[in-house]
């Protein structure tokens, strides 16, 4: 229960915004439903049951493998101390914003038909190993690289937050490595795992660029890719609508199921007992896990950087389309990031101003709509809406892409800003009240200085998501309006591998720079404000 005085303006603004988002989603869904009328005949050409089955198998395998990798990696990172550990942890943290296209491209460079492994095998044995980067194996590999690192980062935060006295008690009781994991580590992580599994399942179920690049044909398509193919390749709008409805249905069921499970708890703050080392055998295992995971994550990205910043850069930067795409990506990224931040702040400030559970839920639900209505479906809905309004999609494209990207980033920004704002309300509420602070003064004097880094993280997440997005732009992009990911995708489609490598490297560097710099920048700005 919050101890803040009621802030009717904040709550009203948040309610109005939540209603607007809900209204927008309703309009998008209405457009999809309206187009679905009479869709049965078209849909009969699509084997939706097969698509759902394959997507579910792929997403389930991704979830299980990513959780196993995430648990092992978090356990290893929690225990091992070595120079550069913070850098390694930071690298895995960046998995959430690393564009899927870039990872997929890195895997192709290593494991593809003309990749490093095949070239080495050809030289050494005269034979190649085929193309394991394509198909289900490639998709799983790419997903586990990103989602395993994401899971590890979340679970590591839980392990690092284990209270020091609990560790002291365990250590003084001489718990073995196995007992320590079972009695101390597992309970700290267990509450997080159902929610995390649901997020990973949804990310894999709605995966678009990785499946588009590595799917290797219809057999491994996800619903998202099938929707894209129906619209852009087969011009089968009604088929796309049927697929979109199926996608929304399945995602909604997963979200409802996940919401019944234990929520992801917020961090308790780091408290590591550095003196409690596991026995040698456990440390050896942790070292092996860490080396394998770091190689698995870093190697594809390194290949992208090595391949991209070679001979491919000069021809790419000499083209006008590259600079147009770069400008479009930066403008869309900046505007959608600022829009995301503004929307997330309005919603979370409103939520933290009320202790009423129902009101908090009502203010929060619309921001999570993306989880049920993913990128390509959202994009399809926008596409149908502007078409129904008589607006040419090409004219609406920049606005729709900005809005679409903001909607996609909103749940992550709300999840970033919500817990610290709630914590401020709980811990500083009485003081704020007794000093009579409110409105802008409350934000500028208390919330902004304490939120600084979180604001930077929210902005960085939104900017990076937008910079790497292919889902929204895929349906709205034209020859005159394209972003860097779309330019890269088209280069790959035209077998211009060097161009694609250069763009992938630029995307990767841009993403990492933004992800590292923005939180630091806002942390400093907030420090100045203190």
């Amino acid at each position: 229960m919050t101890t803040l005085p009621q802030r009717p303006l904040r709550i009203a603004a948040a309610a109005l915004l939540a209603l607007s988002i809900a209204g927008l989603i309703a309009v998008v869904l209405y457009s999809i439903f309206a187009t679905a009328t009479g869709a049965a005949s078209s849909a009969s050409r699509l084997d939706i049951a097969h698509l759902v089955r394959m997507t579910t198998i792929q997403a389930s395998l991704t979830t299980i493998l990513s959780l196993l990798v995430g648990i092992a990696l978090a356990w290893s990172l929690n225990r091992l101390r070595f120079p550069g550990r913070d850098l390694v942890v930071g690298l895995f943290s960046s998995a959430i914003v690393t564009p899927g296209m870039v990872v997929a491209f890195g895997l192709l460079t290593i494991w593809g038909r003309n990749g490093w492994i095949n070239q080495a095998a050809d030289v050494l044995t005269g034979h190649t190993i085929g193309n394991p980067a394509f198909g289900l194996s490639g998709i799983l590999f790419a997903h586990v690289i990103l989602d395993g690192a994401f899971a590890a980062r979340i679970l590591l935060a839980r392990l690092d937050a284990i209270p020091q006295p609990r560790l002291k008690t365990g250590q003084s009781l001489a718990l073995s490595a196995r007992q320590r994991f079972a009695i101390i580590d597992w309970p700290a992580m267990a509450g997080t795992i159902p929610g995390l599994a649901a997020i990973i399942f949804l990310l894999a179920f709605t995966s678009f660029p990785i499946v588009l690049l590595l799917g290797g044909g219809p057999a491994n398509q996800t619903l998202e890719v099938a929707i894209y193919a129906a619209v852009r390749q087969d011009f089968d709008l009604q088929g796309a609508v049927m697929l979109a409805l199926t996608q929304i249905g399945v995602c909604s069921v997963v979200i409802l199921g996940a919401s019944a499970l234990a929520p992801v708890p917020t961090s308790l703050g780091a408290s590591i007992a550095p003196s409690w080392r596991d026995p040698f055998a456990a440390r050896a295992l942790q070292t092996v896990v860490l080396i394998l995971c770091t190689l698995g994550f870093v190697l594809p990205l390194l290949t992208v950087l090595i391949g991209g910043f070679g001979a491919g850069i000069p021809p790419v930067v000499a083209t006008a389309s590259f600079w147009h795409a770069t400008a479009a990506s930066l403008v869309i990224g900046c505007v959608s990031a600022l829009l995301t931040l503004a929307l997330a702040l309005i919603l979370t400030l409103g939520r933290s101003a009320t202790g009423n559970g129902a009101a908090r839920t009502a203010l929060g639900i619309p921001s999570y709509a993306y989880l049920a209505v993913p990128a390509v479906v959202l994009s399809l809905g926008f596409f149908l809406t502007v078409r129904n309004l008589g607006v040419a999609p090409a004219i609406a494209a920049p606005y729709v892409v900005i809005l679409g990207n903001a909607m996609l980033s909103l749940p992550f920004a709300v999840a970033t800003l919500g817990p610290p704002l709630d914590a401020i309300a709980r811990s500083r509420g009485k003081l704020i009240r007794s000093l009579g602070l409110s409105g802008w003064r409350q934000f500028a004097l208390v919330e902004y200085p304490l939120l600084g880094r979180d604001i930077g993280v929210a902005l960085a997440l939104a900017f990076c998501f937008s910079l790497g997005d292919l889902g929204v732009i895929a349906l709205f992009g034209t020859q005159d309006f394209q972003t860097l990911p779309l330019l890269m995708f088209r280069a790959l489609g035209a077998y211009r591998g060097n161009d694609a490598a250069a763009i992938a490297a630029i995307l990767l560097v841009g993403t990492i720079l933004a992800f590292v710099a923005l939180p630091k920048l806002f942390e400093r700005l907030a420090h100045v404000a203190r």
Partner: protein
Amino acid sequence: MLRAEALSFAYPGQATPYVFSFDALPGQITAISGASGSGKSTLLDQLAGFLAPVSGTLTLDGMDMLGLPPERRPVSLLLQSESLFEHLSAARNVALGLPARTPRAIIDQRVAQALAEVGLEEIGPQRAATLSGGQKQRVALARTLLRNRPVLLLDEPFSALDDDTRQTIRALVRTLTERQNWHTILVSHHQDDVAALASRRYQLADYRLTLKESR
């Protein structure tokens, strides 16, 4: 006898180091009192092995303890919080006081005995999270009883308890210390706890321990 001689420690950037010297006798409770931030927890962490002193000695009946890691020290810990693993039952928490390969039948029997000794025969299957503050401390004492290490370190163990429960737990600590011949070190800033329990009392101030009372 547990003896610390010139145990010295300083945190990074700390100009004056802590230097701790004291004696604690078996079957007695030795209290360390001092203001918040005076270094009481630092001292306990050194005794338990979580912090390594820069110099000095720590012996139990002449045997060096400083070379031993926390898990091998002849020490039991009772903290203000987190003395129990809350997701485990009371019985499983107590059973952690026995060696890992103890047969199930012996575990059941000894856990039941230990719980009975602290007056909690009935709560063995109950999850620790559902116990009251006083019950949790008694369960932790039952585990300490099974471990039966010669040194018991108490870090503000009564702070979160109401007056009646506090007196019950105090009496239990005193009884067990005398019966088991433990060297019990009580760190507390509550003067009434110290007055009620301590045979020897040290005051921690200005980075040093001073013997204030010996009964």
